[in-house]
């Protein structure tokens, strides 16, 4: 099972000091955070994409390439890449490039994006969000698998004899996860292609995640990619830890109370009950996280939200230390002990390449 962190790249005032980091500072900090994720033994770093303030990450592949150059094992991913407003041709090119530079340490999570004005800024209509996601991904999928592409669709100018370059590393396209909170069409899309399904999971009651994953698993089996429990599922999570759980609550409360997403609304206690948010000791985080598999089944990737709501860099790095030293080693062991042998791990470039060579040998034989 893969463990990692995902960042939405918000630039938020620290409510305890009133200090707002500059863009330059936050951008350098995210690189430090990603590098530290590898240092403490995490597997994945995923970065969001936004085209509006107060977020800095408009160009994730640039940031991820820079991180790739300074890390050895870290899998680089996104949370999410906007399949609606980006040109699928540019996504194909950018991520194939990143794949080469990072020696295959890249996958991506596609999302539609829910910021209304971003759609018209990029010449699109939010009401066509699902059709855009379907058509754009159909093209992206083709561009990575067919050398010369002739294509015509509803949303983009047609292509005649187009080749997306560079070609995917070893002719193995990056693995794709499809992210959605509550659109069954996206679970269906992920299942149809045999791709992964990533449930953001945080900020929402677990029932949403449960229903979406259940649908994805059923349809994954329906489309013949394996049994339902072999489908590739990723989950988000949100934690804040201290060895003493009361100190965790005390430290995190001002960030919670003023957070851009849920601040000035429900209490930390209510929100912890209604959503996967866990504020407490590493042991509490371990128990809560192990509980996720009870409603989604054995899954392949767990990402935590760590740097947000104005938490200073020092705190984020300390959280990563706790996650890497006390939480993830136990989770690795416990999840592995519970997982049946026929449930696969999350695909990586190495595993996808091996599978491709295997298929080739079978054909040759």
């Amino acid at each position: 099972m893969q463990f990692g962190i995902f960042s939405v790249s918000d630039i938020t005032t620290d409510p305890t000091t009133g200090r707002t980091p500059s863009e330059a500072e936050r951008i350098k900090d995210i690189v430090t955070i990603a590098k530290h994720a590898e240092e403490v033994g995490l597997d994945v770093f995923a970065l969001g994409e936004h085209h509006n303030e107060p977020f800095f990450s408009s160009s994730p592949t640039t940031t991820l390439a820079y991180i790739a150059a300074q890390t050895k094992t870290l899998q680089l991913s996104t949370a999410t890449t906007l399949i609606t407003t980006n040109d699928p041709v540019k996504i194909a090119e950018d991520f194939a490039m990143l794949q080469h530079l990072s020696d295959g340490r890249v996958d991506l999570t596609l999302g539609r994006g829910n910021t209304g004005p971003v759609y018209p800024w990029f010449g699109k209509d939010i009401r066509a969000g699902i059709p855009l996601a379907l058509e754009n991904y159909a093209l992206l999928h083709k561009l990575w698998r067919e050398h010369i592409v002739d294509w015509e669709g509803k949303f983009r100018t047609p292509l005649q004899s187009f080749t997306s370059t560079p070609r995917p590393l070893d002719d193995v396209p990056p693995f794709v996860w499809h992210g959605s909170i509550r659109s069954p069409q996206i679970a269906e899309q992920a299942a149809y292609y045999g791709d992964g399904f990533f449930a953001n999971h945080i900020f929402w009651p677990k029932e949403h995640t449960q229903r979406m994953v259940q649908l994805y698993r059923q349809r994954f089996e329906h489309y013949g990619h394996g049994s339902a429990d072999q489908a590739i599922v990723g989950l988000g999570g949100q934690v804040f830890m201290h060895r003493n759980s009361q100190d965790a609550v005390k430290q995190f409360r001002p960030y919670f109370d003023n957070a851009p997403v849920y601040g000035h609304g429900p209490s930390l206690e209510d929100f912890s009950r209604e959503t996967p948010l866990t504020v407490g000791s590493p042991q509490q985080v371990i128990e809560r996280t192990l509980g996720f598999r009870e409603y989604v089944g054995d899954y392949q990737r767990q990402l935590f939200l760590m740097d947000h709501a104005g938490l200073p860099l020092k705190t984020v790095l300390e959280q990563l230390d706790l996650l890497g030293a006390e939480v993830v080693p136990v989770l690795r062991k416990e999840f592995a002990a519970r997982k049946p042998a026929h449930v696969p791990d999350a695909p990586t470039h190495a595993s996808l390449l091996a599978k491709k060579n295997e298929t080739k040998e079978e054909v040759a034989a």
């Binding site: 509550r182 929402w204 429900p266």
Partner: protein, 204 residues
């Protein structure tokens, strides 16, 4: 006897409240009228005051906590609604509007809804026409033609037997007839897949 579900939404804030009083009269009269048409109404009353915090939280977080979720599910599954708001600052109360702001926009489509309001004076009676009716037209509910307004004066002994009583009975009879001639409400599962992938691609 047919069984149908009536949900009554009362946005009154005081205890006792004239808004709740009107709601109770409307629901009891509707139940009686429905019974005469062979329909047993299972009545559930939702007091928005009890949900005020959860409604605000829903606005801020995008999801409903358990008690509000139950109320939303009851409204969605209802065969008919009676809603009563007090008039605040020449319109429906903010709490009343907020409840419908966080309700799924399709929850009331084709649902028979009886509109009612209370105020201190009859000068506010057009609130039903300029505020409530457009709201429920937007939500594509089936609005019962007679809406009921009660000012403080209407609660006087004579007038309870007079014009207000008459309007309650007319509105209740209209709502009961609407419920009687309809099939039971069908709740759609938002997580259910309605078209498969091939179909979705074809219909881009």
């Amino acid at each position: 006897m047919k069984q149908r579900k009536l949900v009554v939404i009362s946005a009154g804030l005081s205890q006792p409240s004239s808004t709740r009083l009107l709601a109770d009269q409307l629901s009891a009269t509707t139940a009686k009228a429905a019974a005469q048409l062979g329909v047993t109404l299972d009545v559930q009353v939702i007091e928005l005051r009890d949900l005020a915090h959860e409604i605000t939280d829903n606005m801020l977080t995008g999801f409903a906590k358990p008690a509000l979720k139950q109320a939303q599910e009851a409204v969605t599954a209802a065969d008919a609604l009676i809603t009563v708001t007090p008039v605040f600052s020449a319109g429906y109360s903010g709490l009343y509007k907020s409840f419908f702001d966080v309700l799924d926009k399709d929850a009331l489509v084709d649902k028979p809804v009886l509109l009612a309001a209370t105020a201190g004076t009859a000068r506010h009676s057009l609130v039903l026409e300029h505020a409530l009716r457009p709201l429920f037209a937007y939500l594509r509910a089936t609005i019962i033609p007679t809406s009921v307004f009660a000012a403080s004066d209407d609660w006087g002994a004579n007038s309870v037997e007079g014009p207000l009583r008459g309007r309650i009975e007319r509105a209740a009879a209209e709502l009961a007839r609407e419920v009687e001639r309809r099939e039971p409400a069908v709740v759609t599962d938002p997580f259910a897949l309605t078209t498969d992938f091939a179909e979705m691609l074809k219909n881009l």
